[in-house]
Symmetry: C2
Subunit: 430 residues, 2 copies
């Protein structure tokens, strides 16, 4: 039996959907990497009774470790530390030295916000420097202004609780300090060394992978001991296989069968994202984008990574016909003849991007994102791509994408990434 963990995300702004939680997924990833079982992430508001109910639920589910995020701020509705202390049977104590360190972090804010209330800042620091009692409670040094803690129960039947702040940057920076504490180590002693395989496929519906699994089961000799999940994500099918040490050979056999049945659609066996692969293929190249319906999403996606300025020359968002002409040199007559959403215009946009940015690689996207602007011949969701190298090699494609405006824009970006990968690897479009 492996050690089991749970995540409790707190914050009324997260519960009510005003802020999208990224801490739950991030913590899930870290816990699974460590070989812990994860059964539940719960999200609750700032009410102490709800927080306590969530902790109790996770404890009842047999968790050895609970990680909380949020509720450590300077305001009165930030109550997590207090609730956790009580749950672990501990009081709270003010730590004057910790308050000094928080004050040292907070003071520069006074310069940035000259009209700020100093007394408010002091009260906030005092509150944040009040932590669960006990010399055996490791306090995690603040990254923002909020310290965290690893709180173990006085009555040892309950799980250890890692208390982390809500802002993702702070939570993530504080995590490794939490993992290194003796309390964390002790609570997670029973963890198993799972092996996880991640396969990604592009260009098929999810039902197809279900059939492949049905075919594979008798050939592999049964899936007991394998945890297999499939999901459709931004148009890609992801298959994750988790195996205990005893079941690794079966996991490998299953992976081989999937690879054998879908040789052209399986694009990743090593966990790499399409973004990773495209970034690698673009090394030493110089790419320019010409975007219409995606409005800059492809440029934004390619420049997400550090170091992308080495291969991204830039892009044009040519939302209007005039800008397609003025900035990309697309002939207005061509637009009139074929329409702004056409393979011909996509190719001319790619040519224009190559020329204007003196690039060796270009991607052009033009489509009907909707909800307006569709016609019988070119309905909402109809998108054209041209991916082209300066040596003339190119892939042209058009299709109708499902969903609303946001779906069409997002999916059009993903298709562009896959076309780019295929072109740079010298493969035909699927």
């Amino acid at each position: 039996m492996s050690a089991r963990a749970g995540v409790v995300v707190t914050g009324t702004e997260v519960l009510t959907g005003r802020v999208r939680d990224t801490n739950g997924p991030w913590l899930a990833d870290r816990l699974l990497e460590l070989g812990l079982e994860l059964a539940h992430i719960t999200i609750c508001g700032d009410r102490p009774e709800d927080m306590e109910a969530a902790l109790r639920f996770q404890a009842d589910q047999g968790c050895d470790l609970i990680v909380t995020s949020g509720g450590l701020g300077p305001t009165a509705d930030d109550l997590t530390m207090e609730v956790v202390a009580r749950f672990c049977g501990r009081g709270m104590v003010h730590d004057p030295e910790l308050e000094q360190r928080i004050q040292a972090i907070v003071r520069p804010l006074l310069a940035r916000f000259p009209r700020i209330d100093e007394e408010a800042l002091r009260k906030g620091s005092e509150k944040q420097a009040t932590v669960p009692e006990g010399s055996d409670v490791p306090v995690l040094e603040p990254v923002g202004t909020a310290p965290g803690a690893v709180v173990t129960p006085v009555d040892s039947d309950r799980p250890a609780i890692v208390v982390l702040p809500g802002p993702p940057r702070e939570l993530q920076a504080m995590w490794s300090a939490a993992v290194e504490t003796d309390a964390f180590e002790a609570a997670t002693a029973g963890r198993v060394d799972y092996e996880q395989r991640m396969l990604r496929l592009f260009g098929m519906p999810e039902s197809e992978i279900a059939e492949t699994l049905r075919v594979a089961e008798p050939r592999v000799g049964g899936f007991d001991g394998l945890e297999i999940t499939t999901c459709l994500r931004r148009g890609e099918v992801e298959v994750v296989i988790r195996a205990t040490p005893e079941e690794r050979a079966r996991a490998a056999a299953l992976e081989d069968i999937i690879a054998e049945r879908h040789p052209n659609l399986l694009f990743s066996r090593d966990g790499s994202l399409i973004d990773d692969q495209v970034a690698e293929l673009l090394a030493g190249r110089w790419i320019a984008l010409a975007e219409s319906c995606t409005g800059g999403l492809l440029a934004a996606r390619l420049t997400e990574r550090a170091g992308s300025s080495a291969y991204v020359a830039g892009g044009v968002v040519s939302y209007s016909n005039e800008s397609k002409n003025e900035l990309l040199g697309v002939d207005l007559g061509l637009i009139e003849a074929h329409g702004a959403v056409s393979l011909e215009v996509a190719e001319a946009m790619a040519d224009g991007a190559l020329a204007r940015f003196e690039a060796d690689t270009a991607v052009a996207i033009t489509g009907v994102a909707g909800p307006g602007g569709g016609s019988d011949a070119k309905p909402v969701g109809y998108v054209c791509w041209c991916v082209k190298k300066s040596d003339g090699a190119q892939l042209l494609r058009d299709t109708r994408l499902p969903g609303g405006r946001a779906d069409v824009r997002d999916r059009a970006t993903t298709v562009a990434m896959h076309l780019l990968r295929r072109l740079l690897r010298g493969e035909p479009a699927v």
Copy 2:
């Protein structure tokens, strides 16, 4: 006592962080709109025992209604309908007519994916057409291929459960049908008509709003009966005040005090986002973007909304110095003299965008997104903005933003939105 609801999100891909859940927040919004109390969103994987534990937890928390998302797909790990039926004390029954309707939806896939396995599709439809038993269980017609249901307990002590599919587009489209069922109406009969006020402020730390609340409490005469939450989100401070019908006057008084203390920073009292306000201010205008460090994020953000092609001319992502020169006409000597990240270059980029797109409004952003490229004078996070109208009015600003590459890019986009709002309203930069 108001009617209480809970959300159970299922799916190992969501639990493990491979897919970011958007259904929890979306459902939370709908439930709160309906005046229901929401205490917990729980996320679990595809294991039936975990799903059942989550349902039981929500029921134990006094929920009158539980909404589930996910686990209705055609594959064997999609077990939600079965688990919910059992939880409600019902068996499962195959509905041949429903299967016919699902088949009619699925069949066109055969054309799109010619190599697809027909038998796999049939088995999937059969599984999806197997639903909880009972003439009193309304089945929700599929939007994708999965039907949903509103399942009431045979033993009426337990909450009614609305079972919805995982893909957000399907879940959202199916929601209104669920709300209209008698079963939904009966389960949520006790709901209260809360009033919610949402205030948004830009340009202050969260501790400042905490102090304002401390000052306001005695003036309002106590906050009992008001639910007040504050949070920092993409650089903006959001304050939400929920009030019961009896407490509305106090909520209004509190709002007035906040408005009085922060007249320049409070930009929204009606729930509108900065994006809504900018879209409104841009009506009748023609805007062009010139982006360096944000790499297209501002263009993508402005073109997110339907109808934006009426006022967005387009943009240039000028990642390289050459593209700043070639596409925006920025003098290379200016770049050499002041550096690519400078107020001078930002202004020249804005001028170039105005000219090349024949626009009347332009935003230019240049900065050091990091992690590399920083210097003592211009460290990572240093960003310059120029927001300009063709009549010469402009706002120039530079500052150092906190956080990593993604934070800097995102925050730089938000600052640009606020500068744009201020320019178009004829206000100075704060």
